[in-house]
Symmetry: C2
């Protein structure tokens, strides 16, 4: 699966920015892949990109209309269907991260037949994966793990990839969720594979490579999240990371969408290493990424300093500040091995 | 999904007993649900049930033809298809635990239309599950966990259910795999659900119940198996067991189908409790089940005694000997709480 850019981002008429999270992520990391956004009357989200019609976007070179929104129920409103069908008739491919395969909508299935457009259903794995083997692969891997879901693991991985490349390392972001796939053009939505194949899919997404190549793998969920920990554990085992970075949001008290209290960074480190040693006995933490979006700059620095002291590990907000100290540790830890 | 018994067990022409593991499990635990077996020329497996034709089985009351075999590739040989279609025309429902949905075979899809027979694809969950909540439910749950896959977790759960009922407890076996589903007539093949919904499916299979009701949940995989640990963790979180029993096979050195060494019983207990406390802070081990099939009776008793002494927990082979000591501890631990 390789999704063709440039993209036109479809926001429909979702009520707010949060519902356009996928589009926002693409714009944050791959603005140059996006020619504009397509919004319907009443849309409460805005990526800041120019509003373009299908024709204008097509003239600007757009190849794929990306359904850049998340909707809890995974449904697809009927009034969006007409836009998608129009886009296919105008030569666009379609990429969707919704749970429901777009071609389950008869009008879209018919348009696919008629136009030959490709419909990427990012959350559906085409073809099967093998079960995980647990065998050590050549090449190096870094995984971002978290004290919760939706805490900045993808952004941390992307920031680390960027900083590693800037330092001359051979680093590659590996997407494991829908937004990550749209940001990198490929990957696997690991939460959507059949349970038996989680670690196998993680092995597939971070395959054997040159000895000094780093895969920077986007983490998912948390080993402490009662809904998704199985995904996180299979991803950890399949990725067999040499290095990991813990991601944390200091103002949260309970985990996303459930009543379970947030674990500590230390708990996450302990369990990640206990479990991670199964497929990589040398797994080690190289840093801590704190999402300080809710804090003033002064408070952010205080939290980063305290966390760094408590754990003796380089700590930063990878979106707000530099991750160079984490890269320094990564290089120091792995240069001689 | 409620599969109608009595069953006729279809063994096809599989080469050996191991390939008929599903049928063997049904006969071991629900012989009275089975009228006979249907074998093709060259079949190397034998459940010990009478060989019956479709007509003879029908006359004996059979309602469902059960595909009682496992095949690594999950494929369905063409020469089996005719038998299935014949059975549907003679009024049988069909139950299959193969990966491939039977109605993906055109002749079987056509026969379903023609006859109105029900085809149960046990490994495919119909309808969706919710994501796990982690909220404490009323009622009690016991989960069997293991140092490896295929080590006796289902047999231990069934033996415990039987012994608990004999002692007057309100106990119910909860199937999480294909053979278990055929033994109990319902359940969920938890390794076949979408990764995001593992713990949600486990919550569904062991729902809220009377305060003194015990669900005895069939475990899957192992937290230490590099292929399937994600399934085991989601099952642990969703089941939120009050009590668990560790299952072990003392002659194995590496885990099934991979090169990973077997963990110790102590490692499994530690990790089960560390992770299990997320959804049940009071989780505790009530016993150890050792699969001594490969040992002489003398050696079996020696291993059981040593294990019991080492861990201070009642230890037995639930197939070969009594599990009464485990039930004693269960009753003692939970009578006053």
């Amino acid at each position: 699966m390789e999704i063709k850019s440039p993209y036109l981002l479809f926001l429909g008429d979702v009520p707010d920015q949060l519902a356009a999270k996928t589009a926002m992520g693409i714009v944050d990391w791959r603005r140059d892949w996006c020619v504009g956004q397509l919004r319907l009357p009443g849309c409460g989200a805005d990526t800041g990109l120019p509003d373009l019609s299908l024709d204008a976007a097509r003239d600007a070179g757009a190849q794929t209309l990306v359904i850049g929104i998340v909707n809890a129920g995974g449904t697809f409103p009927d009034h969006w269907t007409n836009v998608i069908v129009d886009a296919m008739r105008k030569g666009f491919d379609i990429a969707s991260g919704l749970h429901r395969p777009l071609q389950s909508i008869p009008a879209i299935a018919a348009a696919r037949e008629e136009t030959g457009s490709t419909v990427f259903n990012i959350r559906l794995s085409e073809g099967g994966f093998a079960t995980g083997r647990g065998t050590k692969r050549i090449g190096r891997r870094l995984l971002t793990v978290g004290t919760d879901c939706s805490i900045g693991k993808k952004y941390a991985a992307l920031a680390l990839e960027k900083a590693m490349r800037a330092r001359g390392l051979d680093a590659e972001f590996r997407a494991t969720g829908q937004t990550g796939i749209l940001i990198s053009g490929r990957g696997v939505a690991i939460d959507a594979v059949i349970a038996d194949f989680i670690s196998g899919a993680a092995e597939w997404v971070s395959p054997a490579n040159h000895p000094n190549h780093w895969d920077v793998v986007e983490g998912q969920g948390s080993l402490f999240h009662p809904s998704f920990a199985g995904v996180s554990l299979g991803l950890l085992h399949g990725t067999q990371p040499d290095a990991y970075v813990v991601c944390h949001e200091p103002t949260r008290t309970t985990m996303r969408n459930v009543d379970t209290p947030l674990p500590t960074i230390r708990q996450v480190m302990d369990l990640t290493e206990t479990c991670g040693r199964l497929t990589n006995p040398d797994i080690r933490c190289v840093g801590i990424a704190i999402n300080t979006a809710a804090l003033s700059e002064q408070d952010a620095h205080r939290v980063l300093d305290e966390t760094e002291k408590e754990h003796g590990l380089p700590t930063s907000d990878p979106v707000r500040f530099s991750v160079d100290a984490i890269i320094d540790k990564l290089i120091a830890d792995f240069s001689q091995s």
